[in-house]
Symmetry: C2
Subunit: 324 residues, 2 copies
């Protein structure tokens, strides 16, 4: 039996794929070589998941890999109509980022409640200025995104005593952990969830249904003392509407780990919008994450090579792995 060709897109740094050595022809591609190499590949590992190169190269001529695995939770950078319509199966890195992102969000919630940014700014000024800050326990969070990351975020906030409402695409009753998962319309109803939350946390997948869902209308529904946190994708938010809401003090503050354009350009006004915390798309990236992503891929590769069902199979039309 001839070996399959595994094309790896992204080499900076290259993944450690020791368990695959000898079991496939390993070929590495960069943005320049990808279009020519794509027709030669049986499988494609999208290791550099921040690039648009795969989506751009896919619609060309010639055969296409039968399996694409992306080392990311979101598949939005990857998907194009031709890939969706094809027989190619897509898998993702579901699971690797859940707990790290949940910790990150919990840390942001406490930091905002306790005004850590204020304390550390006062420290730079050598000013001792006691303030009264908020309790976290007893506040209310709305977590938008009911996949494994959203569930981990909800679970971690609940462990801190936060009352959490989890919001997915459609309403689901009888969730073993959360009872009801709200449909997204629950955000917008009169007295809906956007208006009662102290914390609105966005961890939704980026799809046609979610693009730009956090806009002026959404921020207008939020309480003036509420905070918005985005660790999903930048395009879920109309960034200008958020910065306007912050400048107008329509909401109390926000923390963004993802942006419409990444890296956030040095000249962007976003860097110094009042009450806005910026971090460089790192909420899920804990030490060893690249190795964890490579291990997860190799597990799936062994299944694929053995003809077994793949894990984390993405519903290409929905744009994420549907809940079990």
């Amino acid at each position: 039996m001839s070996k399959n060709t595994l094309l790896v897109f992204g080499t900076d740094p290259a993944p450690r794929l020791d368990r695959i050595s000898g079991k496939a022809n390993l070929v590495f591609a960069d943005e320049e070589t990808l279009p020519d190499l794509l027709p030669t590949a049986d499988a494609l590992l999208v290791w550099d998941f921040l690039s648009d190169a795969v989506r751009n190269a896919w619609p060309g001529s010639g055969p296409r890999p039968r399996w694409v695995h992306t080392a990311s939770a979101g598949v939005d950078r990857l998907m194009c109509p031709e890939l969706i319509a094809s027989d190619t199966v897509v898998t993702n890195a579901r699971g690797v980022f859940d707990q790290p992102i949940a910790e990150y969000v919990a840390g942001l919630v406490i930091s905002l409640a306790k005004d850590f940014p204020g304390s550390w700014e006062l420290q730079r000024q050598r000013r001792w200025q006691h303030r009264e800050t908020r309790r976290v326990a007893g506040t209310r969070a709305v977590v938008v995104g009911s996949g494994p990351i959203g569930r981990a975020v909800a679970r971690t906030l609940a462990a801190l005593g936060v009352k959490v409402d989890l919001v997915g695409r459609t309403t689901r009753e009888g969730d073993p952990e959360f009872g009801r998962v709200h449909g997204s319309s629950a955000l917008w109803e009169p007295d809906g969830l956007l208006g009662v939350a102290d914390w609105v946390v966005c961890v939704a997948p980026l799809t046609d249904a979610t693009r730009g869902m956090f806009d002026a209308r959404a921020f207008g529904r939020m309480k003036p003392d509420a905070y918005f946190i985005n660790v999903g994708r930048g395009q879920l938010v109309v960034q200008k509407d958020l910065t306007d809401a912050l400048i107008d003090r329509a909401i109390a503050g926000a923390a963004l780990d993802v942006f419409e354009e990444e890296p956030l350009p040095e000249e962007s006004p976003v860097w110094d919008v009042p009450n806005l915390l910026v971090s460089p798309h790192m909420s899920g990236d804990t030490i060893g994450w690249r190795d964890a992503l490579a291990e997860q891929f190799m597990d799936n590769f062994e299944r694929w090579a053995a003809g077994e069902p793949l894990l984390n199979l993405v519903d290409k039309r929905l744009g994420y792995v549907p809940v079990g």
Copy 2:
């Protein structure tokens, strides 16, 4: 029956004691008037618990209040040999600060693990610099102080997946929540707790046995990648030894909410020691805390007026409310 005189030390801001109005002669004292008023009081509420005035005034001549309540968890500012030797009973604000301080410590742990201070400094510089950060789940914390605040801190960190060892004065087996509460000697044993902790959290009461317990020897036992957090009392730490350890990179970092001298003087070198986060003794002070402290005192006052047993009775020799 003649009314008791309740002396309240501290008026900035004065406590709301509406439930007491009419049930006692309410007299307010400041640092200047306290020595003259102390002999007239049946009970004393130490509302300004950051002052040494009560300890200084107590040894004078004349009668003394039969009951002293301090609106703080620690009684170290209050205690003097004459008060300890007297028949006066002392109660404290046990309970009010537990959950707020636990949240605060959890927030510091996540902030340090995820390098939030680094992200927000990079934001000021408009620099997009992705870093890999730590997981919190799976790390180890040693919480020194096994009173209700220490227990709340331990419980909250455990909810984040941290493996927590709780350390009190003496070893206690069969704790319903933590199994074993370690005695303080467990910190210092070969392969002791100080050497395995990723987080050393100090919430101990300040007593003769704990004063200066975190010194060069303690920081020398800690791992180079470990962090130290103090939300107890500044005098539990030899501040110069800690700042030396930070400057020498003997430990990874620290967060201090309490200091040898408070407010931390503007000219103190502590403000800009590398990898040291400073906050102004506020970890427990959430919105409404003063009202919570007043309510708690009024509850105890009603018990006292009715001749019922007081809550939160401090063991004056130990310097805290003994467990159970």
